[in-house]
């Protein structure tokens, strides 16, 4: 009987084209609005590194001002100082650890035709690449000895490789940045973690840096940070004083597998802070934090508040569309009371009537859902047009199969929910009541 009812459903749509069109359109628009925002929310709150997100931890220590928390109510700084970062890096108490900061370099292509250009760089210790599982086209990162010896090595991305080396395997070749030659140790493949979880200090959706070089080389070369630098206490001038100060400007992540490793590392952090307190630092109470990737994304409130506001409004919008649908379905049922009572007089049970009309509603829902995929796509294009300035938006508005299926599913579910009351009314039609007038 299912196919028969589907046929009846399609037939009834054709018989009442305007009413049905209104219903389908209302559902499609409601679904479009909802799914557009849900898509943005879904991508923004997505897991950028699902296979490792619960073993990578962001470290926070509270080295801040005794008179004023870094962030109310009592949150520790979001970055670490050079003193603490290097000490923790040296201690090597986690399975892996990485200390890094964002900077910029000027690439000087050799050869007269190409002009120098600026790139965003990341100065990092060696573990960055294995920890974050960065994909490589050629070669790879460097090892700890390169860090220790301040070797001038560099990892470049595909674009730079295309631009300077014609896309070939450039491992071992030389790249000059700010008048210093660097040996290419690897070419990183396209890597676009959404959000750029390892450093959200200037916004969670920045592009990944274009080149990577050893932290030790940057420190020795006095490369400045392009990220945020915050200091709470007065200090003397000069480079040495800055490196030994309480200014925070580096990001420190560790890799820990399992609860026991995590616990051991927390104990190690406590012990470290205790020794620093004895030296007169860390005036605030102990407040060490280890947040894994998703916890850190939540802590940093990566999903914009506007998205949450719009999400609430979109759900209410869907409710309006559903109320619309209920009303129109009621109208449809009322028109067909003659039909229903005839079927009932011929022996159809209440359940049969119920099935018939629920399935009809499902057909309308499916039609609305299919159209809704189209309106969702339109909505996402609209978002892209509005936010065109920010290129990362193109990734936020990409629809994948999950979203498409969710749109259709939501449409059918909503139509079925909307149909419950009208269908129940349909079942209550008395078999004899309408037959008199026929």
């Amino acid at each position: 009987m299912f196919r028969y009812y589907v046929k009846l459903g399609l037939f009834s749509i054709r018989k009442n084209p305007i009413l049905s069109a209104l219903m389908v359109a209302a559902i499609a628009v409601g679904i479009g609005a909802c799914m557009t925002i849900i898509n943005v929310d879904y991508v923004m709150s997505g897991n950028p590194i699902p296979h490792k997100s619960d073993v990578l931890y962001h470290v926070q220590l509270d080295s801040w001002d005794p008179n004023d928390a870094y962030q109310d109510p009592d949150l520790p700084p979001e970055q670490v100082t050079y003193l603490d970062g290097t000490a923790l890096l040296e201690a090597g108490q986690a399975r892996r650890q990485v200390l890094s900061f964002k900077s910029s370099r000027i690439v000087e292509p050799q050869g007269e035709d190409e002009r120098p250009f600026q790139v965003i760089s990341r100065s990092t210790s060696a573990d960055f690449f294995p920890m974050f599982d960065t994909p490589f086209v050629y070669g790879g990162g460097w090892d700890k000895s390169a860090d220790d010896n301040e070797e001038n090595v560099v990892v470049i991305n595909r674009e730079i490789n295309e631009r300077l080396f014609g896309g070939e395997n450039s491992v071992g070749r030389t790249l000059v940045m700010n008048d210093m030659p660097y040996r290419v140790s690897g070419v990183m493949d396209i890597w676009e973690p959404l959000p750029k979880f390892y450093d959200v200090n200037n916004g969670p959706f920045e592009d990944v840096e274009e080149v990577f070089l050893p932290l030790s080389v940057s420190i020795a070369g006095e490369h400045g940070s392009s990220g945020n630098t915050s200091c709470w206490n007065a200090r003397e001038g000069g480079r040495e004083a800055f490196l030994n100060s309480e200014c925070i400007w580096l990001q420190f992540w560790v890799e820990l597998h399992g609860a026991s490793e995590r616990q051991e590392y927390m104990s190690f952090l406590s012990a470290y802070v205790e020794t620093q307190k004895e030296l007169g630092r860390f005036p605030r109470p102990m407040n060490n934090r280890l947040n894994n990737v998703m916890e850190w994304m939540e802590y940093e409130e990566v999903v914009a508040e506007d998205v949450n506001v719009l999400l609430g409004l979109a759900y209410m919008f869907l409710i309006v569309c559903l109320l619309n649908t209920i009303g129109l379905l009621l109208a449809k049922v009322a028109r067909r009371t003659g039909d229903i009572s005839l079927r009932r007089a011929l022996g159809a049970s209440r359940q049969a009537i119920f099935s018939q009309y629920i399935i009809e509603a499902g057909v309308i829902g499916a039609a609305g859902g299919l159209l809704g995929v189209g309106t969702t796509w339109l909505g996402l294009q609209g978002i892209k047009a509005l936010y065109g300035e920010f290129e990362f938006i193109a990734r936020l508005v990409a629809m994948d199969w999950v979203v498409i299926l969710a749109a259709i599913g939501l449409a059918i579910l909503s139509a079925l929910a909307a149909a419950l009351y009208p269908t129940w009314r349909a079942c209550s039609v008395h078999p004899a009541s309408q037959l008199k007038a026929l």
Binding site: A33, N67, D68, P116, G237, L323, G327
Partner: protein, 404 residues
């Protein structure tokens, strides 16, 4: 007025009318809160920065010759730019209002680090700063050329004088008149004294979303480094013409450098408020579509309602009711439903707004939004029902006696 019969007729057959009323209620709740947010964002975006936005542009010059003398280079650049035809004035600065990135410091009234500090944006500039930004000095004086020094990174000392915005002066010295704030000393970096020698009317900080965006300070210090930001104020009407010319002049000046991120103040403002302006657009779209859907829903249900009652209408007409009377009946019926709807809508709207104020820190609804939304929805309802109501008047009285 047939309110009695209308109401009793409604009560007997409530469902579809309850639905319309509910729809109107939720639509109103969304409409009121959306318009509230639109108003709030629009007010934010309308705030002036205080600088000459129409004529200012800025660019970054990154020198990569490691042996270059930055101070000499910057001085030469500024000289060349200031003398360029079409340029009013130019400075070296670390930041620009609404740029998105900049410097801030905490200031106190006493050299006591245990006291709370007030945050202010810091702009490093020379004596040309006020003229280049186009801000108005309302008290005190500008920097003298001799008071402007090149920052010594190793010594790390800080100038002892500053020019602040009126908002900063009021925040630090709320009980004093502006003229009395002149000459007062604040403390920066815990213990370094810094004296206020001038007060400007307004200059916003680099971060449009910051609660302290009106608090800025000008510091007479030139920070020479490989990356220099030049802020240039063009003579009125010359900006677009000279922008590429200045870029060309600097790029081909013989120094090893790159010129990048050249932007007008207007672009900086647009980027800074992009999220807010997009939100306004999205919400406006939602309100319009929502009203259309509700309107169409009313049209649909009203048509159906009329179609169901042809016999009743025919009977009334046969008994002597005029066409306008029938029209009035349906318009009034819709008015009653809409009234129930907007009353419910007002309550839901206020409820939602209170929750949003709590959850998102939104502003409360302006009092006139509720009546305005009520009137709008009444009108939409009446417009929507007019078509079906007119069709109702066309029903022939003869239908009264037909049995089909």
């Amino acid at each position: 007025m047939e309110l009695g019969p209308i109401w009793r007729a409604l009560m007997r057959n409530k469902t579809s009318y309850v639905l319309i009323a509910l729809q109107i209620a939720v639509t109103m709740a969304i409409m009121v809160n959306a318009v509230n947010i639109i108003q709030e964002r629009s007010q934010q975006m309308a705030r002036p920065t205080g600088v000459d936005e129409a004529n200012i542009f800025y660019l970054s010059s990154v020198v990569f010759d490691p042996d270059a003398d930055f101070e000499v280079q910057i001085a030469a650049d500024l000289d060349a730019i200031r003398n360029f035809p079409g340029v009013h004035n130019a400075i070296l600065s670390n930041s620009v209002p609404l740029h998105g990135g900049g410097w801030s410091e905490g200031l106190r009234l006493e050299p006591d680090p245990t006291l709370d500090a007030t945050g202010s944006a810091i702009f490093f500039t020379d004596e040309h700063g006020i003229d280049t930004f186009g801000i108005d000095l309302i008290a005190g004086r500008n920097f003298e050329p001799g008071e402007v020094t090149w920052y010594d990174f190793d010594a790390g000392d800080w100038p002892a004088i500053t020019i602040v915005t009126a908002a900063m002066a009021e925040e630090m010295f709320p009980d004093l008149a502006l003229d009395d704030v002149l000459g007062k000393t604040m403390y920066i970096h815990d213990t370094k004294p810094i004296q206020i020698i001038g007060i400007t009317e307004r200059m916003q900080a680099a971060w449009s979303g910051w609660s302290g965006v009106e608090r800025s300070m000008l510091i007479p210090s030139m920070r020479g480094s490989s990356g220099a930001r030049y802020v240039i104020r063009a003579e009125p009407g010359y900006r677009d013409e000279i922008m590429p010319q200045i870029e060309e002049m600097l790029a081909s000046s013989g120094a090893d450098r790159i010129i990048r991120n050249m932007r007008t103040m207007e672009e900086a403002r647009a980027r800074s408020y992009l999220e807010d302006s997009s939100m306004v657009t999205i919400l406006t779209f939602i309100v319009i579509v929502l009203t259309a859907i509700t309107g169409l829903g009313i049209v649909g249900l009203a048509s159906f309602s009329v179609a169901r009652r042809t016999k009743q209408i025919g009977t009334r007409r046969a008994l002597g009711a005029t066409r306008p009377a029938i029209l009035r009946y349906f318009m009034l019926e819709n008015f009653v439903i809409s009234t129930v709807g907007v009353t419910g809508g007002a309550i839901i709207a206020i409820g939602i707004n209170m929750w949003m104020v709590d959850a998102f820190g939104l502003q409360r609804i302006a009092w006139y939004l509720i009546p305005a939304a009520m009137v709008t929805l009444w009108l939409v309802g009446q417009l929507a029902v007019y078509g079906p109501a007119r069709r109702a008047t066309m029903v022939s009285p003869a239908l009264a006696t037909r049995s089909v």
